[in-house]
Symmetry: C2
Subunit: 466 residues, 2 copies
């Protein structure tokens, strides 16, 4: 028989999902319900995922594949468990976990100008940022977040910690028109972004970004400079976008345009942009965001708590926009729990639109995974479990009363699953948590260090109250 | 010295919170942060709670008391933990956990008439109810709920299971104007309520109630009969009240009154009544509810998911109404997690009122405890940690990244704590969960039995889909 005939015969006999016999892999996950979030919404009951060199090299049903064909360096038995893509937290300020619960139930301006900005100016140092980041990373790994997009000060320290702990991240060094805890002038900030980008560009996990804070805190001239620098260095631009009503008032007053219109007009919007919140947008602005392929980070719980409003998510989804979910910083949420965002996004838009069919369970889970990847413009690498994508995945156990019974896997994950159901977290093929035990962070030490810093912050608070 | 002089001297020397030296107690909890939810919002750092004969007999600061004065049969060391009143779930349908995730993202009428009612008529038996109740109780105990108010069919089976598992409950046997899974006619239903009440009235944990389903499913004549029976037997009345817009349309069409006005006019409203949802109420109706001392069960997550609307909770609280929180049944939520209701109630009303100060953390936690007790008209017995109240309390551990740091204990509990942080659950002085291990239910068996029932339900679903 000719070689071609053999190949044809083989293609008929072999299952579509396959690997070479005796194929060496680094990690093999077997026996779980594999929820892929791929284009066909494939779910493999009794499935498997094979990982080599940080990538998914095979995925499918156990029945379609003789798993003894794999020579796996490590195996995870996921029977009675669910395997799904790691969650993507598209908007946060990691070190702000150290301000968790410092000031709640306040009007936005009072919260920001009387509590958060003063606390930041007084307490935020490189050490604060490093300690806070470790605490935030611990919380994220435990809850199954494998990628985040951050925006804060001393972003280099955040990159150091994130890389060491093994998470994937888009990390935006903040630039802003007032003296920041790290850099006192605009030009210092821009120079820092260049050094930061140069240092982290080669890193596999860290995507350095520039983060002009917002349209109301950075001048037109500086926003344009930031956009040019992003272009020159090929960086994502992370920015707060159309969040508060006051932001719209500001741009209308100063530029006679709404925030999205204004940023479009000055040439900032492009597929580089990752915009957080995007609440106050009209129909035309949605078109702009679609045309410019801007990533959108929807933070439902933060928006509720700050009373910022409701983003037009069903409309965004209908228009095919790049919408992911984010927790925002823990000073305004107050946690980094993506499962509550998933649950909330499905419920909030039903209520807001008076339509119990708005934002389905599938849409909610997709926003937290593939949608988040699209919002960060990383959908070629992450967001779903498919051959060729990076091995960022999580495993949940199902033997808990709140996860029984199981009729629809998407309903169960969206409306009933909790962060505490995650048992294993894997990023870039590396196990960061196994059976709820962190592998790259010392949890007790992380907590102790965070409490030490908080004690310094609490003291002046306590004396002010006396 | 005279006996009187000795007593006077002793009263000067001893701290205000005290017990007799060598006092025998059943259970002593020491060393935790005791959050009382009493009128003074007392929080005892390094506090203690002493329990005897199912009641709290002493509470306070360790410093104010020599704990060696207690002879405790059992001691719980709560250092680095938080002790607080058990949560009160004021509205649920426990056995519906077996329909969790069966039908989601549907319009209310389609959900109810095409999925839930048919499933109930086909599958709800006494066995179904018993198995579902055990599953729901396991979820509640794990999440720190110590009292619930239920409303379903075969309520006697729910009472059996709840009493055996050791939770406190107001249990409403449903009466409704169509053939129900348990009783086919109105008169059978009423007779069953009498037997049910007679059987459970003497029980310490179970408060039997009558539960006419709603104003749109029970005729005026029958509602009046139910109210008379409640009066005769001295029972609470549990009823769905002003939930859906369609309910208001119905009473306006048939009785030319809005739901609360209508029930007031027919004489149903009184301090016996526990009304679930109470969304569509105007200013005048709030006055009626206040005057009649009606208990209100606010179910924010269910109301969002079904797109039912937003109850005027800040107005209710301002008027001093008896407002508690509830999860509703797990077919419309989809869990019995009171922590997410607490988090949601604080955030939802901020958003809805455009006011980030609406529903503070204290108000949210109070609604889940003392407010719930007031909604069930049980505030003399439960809802706060005070001497003389029943010993219903829970203990949370704080050594988790999402609970670090701690600035304000109420913020931390409301915006950051999760059901999975509860380690111990105590009801009526009895430990139902210790170090996350259930003491009165066999979790593996409960889950296995629930899955068996669900498999029967899934089968016709699967064939219908073919």
């Amino acid at each position: 028989m000719s070689k071609l005939a053999w190949l044809l015969l083989a293609s008929l006999l072999l299952p579509p999902v396959m690997a070479m016999s005796g194929e060496q892999v680094d990690l093999l996950i077997t026996g779980g319900t594999v929820v892929t979030i791929d284009d066909q919404w494939n779910v493999f009951e009794n499935g498997f995922v094979a990982i080599r060199d940080a990538k998914i090299v095979a995925i499918g049903d156990n029945a379609s594949k003789n798993l003894r064909d794999f020579q796996a360096a490590e195996t995870i038995d996921a029977r009675n468990k669910v395997v799904l893509p790691g969650l993507i937290n598209t908007h946060t300020h990691l070190p702000m976990v150290l301000f968790r619960g410092l000031a709640d139930d306040l009007k936005l301006n009072e919260w920001l100008y009387k509590h958060i900005f003063p606390a930041e100016s007084k307490f935020v140092t490189r050490e604060f940022v490093a300690v806070g980041t470790r605490l935030g990373l611990a919380e994220m790994i435990r809850g199954g977040t494998t990628t985040c997009c951050d925006m804060y000060y001393f972003e280099d320290a955040i990159a150091e910690e994130t890389n060491r702990a093994g998470l994937r991240a888009v990390l935006g060094q903040t630039v802003i028109d007032f003296p920041a805890p790290d850099y006192k002038t605009w030009s210092e900030g821009l120079a820092a972004v260049e050094a930061f980008a140069e240092k982290w560009k080669p890193n596999e996990l860290i995507h350095p970004a520039i983060a002009p804070h917002a349209a109301y805190t950075v001048s037109t001239e500086h926003l344009t400079e930031a956009a040019s620098l992003a272009e020159k260095l090929d960086l994502p631009i992370v920015i707060h976008l159309a969040e508060a009503r006051t932001e719209t008032d500001y741009t209308l007053k100063h530029y006679r345009q709404r925030p999205v219109e204004y940023l479009e007009q000055i040439g900032l919007l492009s597929p580089r942009v990752i915009g957080a919140h995007v609440i106050n947008v009209n129909h035309q602005e949605l078109h702009i965001l679609q045309r410019r392929e801007v990533g959108i980070c929807h933070c439902p719980q933060s928006n509720m708590k700050i009373a910022a409003g409701v983003a037009p998510v069903p409309q965004m989804l209908a228009a095919g926009l790049r919408v992911g979910l984010g927790t925002d910083g823990a000073a305004s949420n107050n946690d980094l729990d993506m499962w509550q965002e998933i649950d909330t996004v499905a419920k909030l838009h039903k209520l807001h639109n008076g339509d119990a069919t708005a934002v389905s369970a599938r849409q909610a889970l997709q926003m937290a995974t593939l949608g988040g990847a699209r919002a960060l413009h990383l959908e070629e690498k992450i967001g779903s479990l498919e051959v060729g994508k990076m091995a960022d995945l999580i495993i949940l156990e199902l033997d808990a009363p709140h996860l029984v019974p199981r009729y629809d896997i998407y309903s169960l994950l969206v409306y009933s699953a909790k962060a505490s159901d995650v048992v294993d977290t894997i990023v870039n093929g590396k196990i960061l948590m196994r059976n709820r035990q962190l592998k790259t962070l010392n949890l007790q030490q992380v907590i102790a260090e965070a409490r030490q810093i908080a004690a310094r912050i609490r003291k002046p608070l306590a004396s002010a109250a006396e």
